[in-house]
Symmetry: C2
Subunit: 527 residues, 2 copies
């Protein structure tokens, strides 16, 4: 059985049970056995992480940055092994997806996080020279990271966006592997631990557990020694963790389900129907639709053009290969969600059958309802069908479209496509404000599946897409701020201040808010 | 019975019951009767607030700023009535406290909030010109504000810091009056509503309820129409509201109890004992100790000097008048907390008896324990005794002091006093890092009771002092960010962007993060 990484040791787990991952393309078990940790593992990891946190919060940010960069290099040195393992565990295509897209994104994120840690502007150091009051965002303590199944690299709990943000903010990470790709996570953790040693971080800066009971997971996220939790995954499991963390007053950042409504206004269909068929199909079927931002609901206006457009999409879905799903669980929950939507009255246009592949697979699926059906049961029709499926909602008019949008739950994204000549402008103005308040990211004329690592990105949104509408999981520096506490120094003697709050800008490159102005200059204390 | 303010009407409450406030100085009921609202009032206020929120989020920030300034003027025009009513309802001294300190602080906060709204920098507009991704903090929706008993002006639910921040961020407020000063809150709400009308805000921008059942309070903070809640008050009531809000995924910002540890190092007592007696006594007895940041625990090192110092404080406490407490509830909970501390083994040095005043009053109280007693029951000895009382903890040595600090819950503040010549520097270095992680604001050589309205202030801290360690209730612009959602615009056409995210800086004075640099310049889109 594979060892866990606790307190700087790859050591046997206090295992309550074990599990194996599967190759979703062949439905066959992979050879390695991974432990389901008992509480003792969690307890030891928490103790070691708390001690590491006390060391890390005093390390120069240069050392944190060096770790992140060294880790990126170690990942690159292990690229072949990572790609092979991730392909075996997820069936995501080696190329372009794993090797050419997700891999460089992952190392890119780590390097962006390193740059942010080194510069230090993320911490929003604020200096009031007149009152000698100063504040800065400071490391929060050990961060538990629960990674999702659908990004074995870029959101891996031991290498992805949350990991990079938590470390860059100066915190140790307890990575809880996604159980569908434990081997990939193990290779990352090995590389991370190499980098920990090479850059002299505390040895428990990165720890790895593969799996726990639900009960121990809830205990972990509410433990007094923990700083916060980042969780990406299913709504049910996420809300159970949130309830436990909330009771203990521990921050938990969630990235849960989202149907990502796409509204296609009449002028867009009239002017570029074929383009939109291709754009939508590519976005919806890419990675077999297994993206948090997959367009799971498309709202169109009733017309002959819309009907023709939907028919063209159906034809395109039928002609497209059925991608392999990440696991048996994804396959069955996709089927269950589609059954639920159909039971509620959605009309099947294509799909909802065993897929053509030999792995976990469902046929590309499209469903359709009328706006009035949606309005009769808005909750049911927002059931996320995670995978290669989407639901058309045909609305009669603008008022009905407004009604549908007004009933949306919180989503990560919402898109509106419109014509280029202004014909749709009034409808846009009638709909956009309603959609705006229900999504974290509003797009124009663009599918939601690309999530750029931009300082302006919001990969977040209103509950239940996430747990708090003010934070983003993607985008540096903002994602770092989730893992920080605001610490104020009032009349603290100059030599006792952390470097970021001393009059002298510690690296000459850190943005600080000094007496109301953002500046890289030194603060001038008049005394 | 006094009417409630709902949807722009002062109208009779759907009252389940009614209550009167008391003059704490005379223990006599004040004449006015106020309603305990039934759910119907809350429901109507929520509906009106949601409609107002949709209007407010599109208003020019200039109009929001004008409202806040007009409101400050209206408050000034009603100063005599406000001071008289607040004095009658709280027994806080007319001067300097109410008229000369808290009153100008309140109007000053409103004007600072107006300036922040007008400038717009608080919203952290972020522009990535290369990817055409832009994001900004935007109004969250109706904010329920529950004000505390101890600041009838500066934290009043219809005029104080949370109110000002919520409005400045562009949200309507549903004010829930503190039941110990409903009349003061009514005068504020009248002035606010005048200002609402004068500046043409939606009429439900400010609404007022006086009281609800606990059940309806929980329903209010978890209602889908609500954006968030700000609550300042007791831990029990706050945690009940938090549980309800958390279940619904609604942000709730809490400012709960805190014992605000003060550590006095040996050199400080040796070099300025008398100064410290006065400083501590003033801070602890001001306002009869009824401050969130009241120094409720003082840690000193065992020595003859410390014993003498404590004796001098005891003498000073005995010689100081017993202030009037805010209510019968404060009086009884102070007595209960002191009884609990004594039952746990704390030694009574002075007080714990009926006070000498004719109003609600307890004698100035000092208790003492040894560090080892604290360590045997750290939870009990952190019982907040809200009022004119404090607990000395005498530690044997640095290790014991470290142990005591390590067992502290989250607090708003922590102070360390040390000598001026460096003799205490090693002890400081041994203790400060432990204290630092357990408080929102770390002070040197200064009592915690002054909370400056500074951009660098943190009136917050780790749970259970607050509900989230990243936010502050005092300090502009940071306090506004609690009431905002991060909204991203991805590829959105230029003319559809909110003003803050267009290339042109809308007022030339807004700080924006453009391509990684904080600037007031226009963004330069290369296309």
């Amino acid at each position: 059985m594979q060892p866990v990484l606790i307190a700087g040791q790859w050591r046997p787990s206090h295992a309550a049970a074990h599990f194996q991952s599967e190759n979703p393309a062949t439905r066959s078990r992979l050879p390695d056995e991974y432990p389901v940790s008992a509480w003792q593992d969690c307890n030891e990891a928490l103790g070691a992480a708390a001690a590491a946190a006390d060391v890390m919060r005093r390390l120069p940010s240069e050392q944190i940055a060096a770790f992140l960069e060294r880790f990126a290099e170690r990942i690159e040195a292990n690229k072949d092994a990572l790609v092979a393992m991730a392909h075996a565990e997820t069936a995501l295509p080696v190329t372009p997806r794993l090797a050419d897209v997700e891999f460089p994104r992952t190392t890119g994120q780590l390097r962006q996080a390193a740059a942010a840690a080194r510069e230090g502007s993320w911490a929003m150091a604020t200096i009031d020279t007149k009152n000698n009051i100063r504040s800065v965002l400071a490391p929060l303590g050990p961060i538990a990271v629960f990674g999702p199944n659908n990004f074995p690299f870029a959101f891996n709990s031991a290498a992805g966006g949350d990991f990079a943000a938590a470390i860059a903010a100066g915190n140790p990470v307890i990575a809880k592997a996604n159980t569908s790709h434990p081997g990939t996570t193990r290779i990352f953790a090995e590389a991370a631990f190499d980098a920990v040693q090479a850059t002299d971080l505390p040895s428990a800066a990165v720890q790895l557990l593969y799996r726990t009971s639900h009960e121990d997971g809830e205990r972990l996220v509410s433990d007094p020694r923990l700083g916060a939790t980042a969780y990406t995954g299913s709504r049910t499991a996420g809300l159970a963790l949130k309830a436990a963390a909330d009771r203990a007053g521990k921050p938990i950042y969630l990235e849960l389900s989202s149907v990502n409504p796409v509204v296609i206004l009449p002028g867009a269909i009239q002017s570029r129907a074929t383009e939109l068929v291709n754009e939508f199909t590519t976005s919806c079927l890419m990675g077999a639709g297994q993206f948090c931002t997959n367009p799971g609901m498309v709202i169109v206006f009733a017309s002959a053009e819309s009907e023709a457009w939907i028919k063209a999409v159906v034809a395109k879905f039928r002609a497209s290969p059925d991608g392999t799903l990440l696991s048996k669980g994804v396959e069955s929950s996709l089927a269950t969600s589609i059954t639920k939507l159909r039971a509620g009255g959605a009309n099947l246009l294509t799909g909802d059958d065993a897929g053509s592949g030999q792995g976990y697979c469902r046929k590309n699926t499209l469903l359709a309802i009328q706006g009035e059906q949606f309005l009769q049961n808005p909750e049911l029709f927002q059931t996320e069908a995670f995978g290669n499926a989407s639901l058309f909602v045909t609305v009669r008019d603008v008022a009905e479209a407004q009604g549908v949008l007004a009933h949306l739950e919180g989503n990560l994204t919402g898109c509106i496509y419109s014509d280029q000549d202004g014909a749709d402008e009034d409808i846009y103005a009638a709909l956009a404000p309603i959609l705006r308040e229900r999504v974290g990211r509003l797009l124009n004329d663009k599918m939601p599946t690309g999530v750029a690592v931009s300082p302006a990105m919001n990969h977040g949104g209103p509950f239940p897409a996430t747990g708090h509408p003010g934070f983003t999981a993607v985008g540096i520096p903002a994602s770092l701020r989730r893992f920080a506490a605001l610490q104020c120094y009032d009349n603290v003697r100059a030599h006792r201040l952390p470097p970021a709050l001393q009059d002298r800008n510690p690296n000459g490159r850190m943005w600080r808010l000094v007496d109301g102005c953002w500046t890289k200059d030194n603060a001038q204390t008049t005394s």
